[in-house]
Each structure stands twice: as structure tokens, then as C-alpha cells.
Amino acid sequence: MHILFALKTLYHNLYLKKVPKIRIMADADIKTTVEETNKDYVEDGKNKLNVKCKFCSSKILDKQSANYITQEKQLPLMQQDNNREEGEIQTESVNEFYHVENMYTFENIGFTHSVDNYKYLSCADCDAGPVGYYDMNTKHSYVALSRVVHS
């Protein structure tokens, strides 16, 4: 009887709840990641540490100078595949940003020429990028946490 119940529960868990359960887990994982990032790098809604270039350590933002926000945004990849179709821009989805209202808040940064209503941000020393983007309508800048390091 107990074995039968256990088997039934197992069947239920494995087959009937499998799909939603995994999706819930995935959501929880994302939340955990964001919270962990928060704890390590964000204090009072701002960057706790200096923000630097991943490749050359050039200082991009002084500590506590930008606001942490979450928003989903497609950002072009730093390296575009040579075999991509002509005119195609390879992007990835980025969720966490530092919001910089005044461009002179940056310590060192490059702004590209405009593409549509955006300028992309690059390292002022090694030109790696995009590390984020600048919205020409609002004149606000956004630095992707995944494209920089903290120290």
C-alpha cells in the first residue's frame, strides 16, 4: 500500500509536474542570481565597488556612483562572428545594469557613433565593448553588469 502510494507520487512528480516544476526552478534560479549579485556588488541600490573593464581594468565608474536596475535588453555581442549574414548583428539578452544619468559621472568611457537612437559604450583604454549603451532620447547611460568587473 505504502509502496503503491510512493510510486503514484513519484509518477505524479516525474511526469505530471515535471514541466512546470522545472520552469519554477528556473525562475527561482534567476532570482537567486540577481539577489546574489545584489549582495556582492550592490549596496543601497548603488554599485558598492569600482566598476572596471574586464580586459584591461580601466576604471569605468567610481564606487557608489550609479544605480542598480534590472531590465531586459538585447545588447550586441562584443565579438561578432565573421560568418554571420551581412548586416546581421548578433545580440544577447542582458538583465542587470547600472543606470548613469549624467555621462560625466563616468571615469573613463568611449561613446560610439549613433546607431538608431543609441550610442554604445566601450572601454576608453582598450576599446572593448559594448559594455552598455546610451539612450539619445533620455541622455541616460546603462552599463551591463555582465560585461564589467568589480573591484
Binding site: K59, D62, S65, P76, L77, M78, Q79, Q80, D81, N82, I89, E101, N102, M103, Y104, T105, F106, E107, N108, I109, G110, F111, T112, H113, S114, V115, K119, Y120, S122, A124, D125, C126, D127, A128, G129, P130
Partner: protein
Amino acid sequence: MAKTYDYLFKLLLIGDSGVGKTSILFRFSEDAFNISFISTIGIDFKIRTIDLDGKKVKLQIWDTAGQERFRTITTAYYRGSMGIMLVYDVTNEKSFENIKNWIRNIEENASADVEKMILGNKCDLDAKRMVSKERGEQLAVEYQIKFVETSAKDSLNVESAFYTLARDIKAKMEKKQEASNPPSRSGAHPIKASDMQRKPASWLSRCSIL
């Protein structure tokens, strides 16, 4: 939000096409397998923060590449600029001769008291050199502008040239502020023109590490 810097200077890079203005601003080299997204689009301007005698100075440096083929830079580009790097290529005679035309263009369009500096770029290409360092110095003396030979490729004298230009702008602004002696430090915005005496180009420089 409180201002976190003492001064903000807008600087321009000006000169003929191909003299290396973009290389002065942009250092990226492409590798064979991937094309950098940034190098495809190109850099419009950079913001750099430097320390000058204990003051935090923000430099906004603009590349004028792409505009120079019209032989002039529009007034809009000059607006608000406080310092100009005049760049020629030591392997290109014409680019050197055109410095005079660029100076005229600046006089016609830019603020009268804009600080200037002449850069003889590509001084690493000694075998191809067409313009001697002495001729660069003579031109600088003639216009009473500071001069240095640079190599963007080897990062030679580029950074120090920006420091020199920024220091001159800061000195000029501080002098003006003293002249009008306001008790508060207004910082980033220059007070309108008063005719300043230009310093002679005594600043020695050479295309080698001293």
C-alpha cells in the same frame, strides 16, 4: 546629485584625413577571426578623468574624422570646445602644410581663446619621414602654439600631450577666475573671453623618451 569633479574640458582632434586622429582616440586592433562590434561602428568621443595638481578633471575628447574631407569643420563641432589638438602626419607633407589652413578654420569658427597644440603624429615611421621635427617646431613658434611629435601606434607622447593641453586650459581658467576674483569656484564653465597673453612655445619635446 553633487558634482564629483572640478573641471570639465571639451577637446577636439583636428587635421587632414589619414593623419591618425582616430588612432589617437581609438586603439583597438582587430583579430583575424572576429570583428569587434565597436570597431565597425567607430568612436564618436571619449570621456577621460585625469588628476591635475589635485583637481579632478574630466576630458571629453571628440574625433572629427569623416568631417575633414569637407576641408572645414562646422561651427557646431567647435561650439564649447576649450582645447584643440592639431594633428599632422610626419610622413605626409601636405598634411603639415594644411595645419595653417586648419588654424585659419579655427580662428574663423572656434572661440577666440581656445587652447591649441600641434601634434606631429606617426613619428615611429622614421624611414618615411617627410617633415623634420625642426619644421614642426618652427611652425609652432610662428603661431606660438605648443608642439610635440607623437606615435599613436607606440602610445608615445599621446597621453602627456593631453595632460599638457588640459593643464594649459586649467591655468588659463584659473587666471581668468582670479582676474574677476569671484569668491566661489565655479569650475567647469569658462568665463567669457578676455585677451590673454600667449606663452611662447618653450615646452621642449622630442619623439623619444628623454
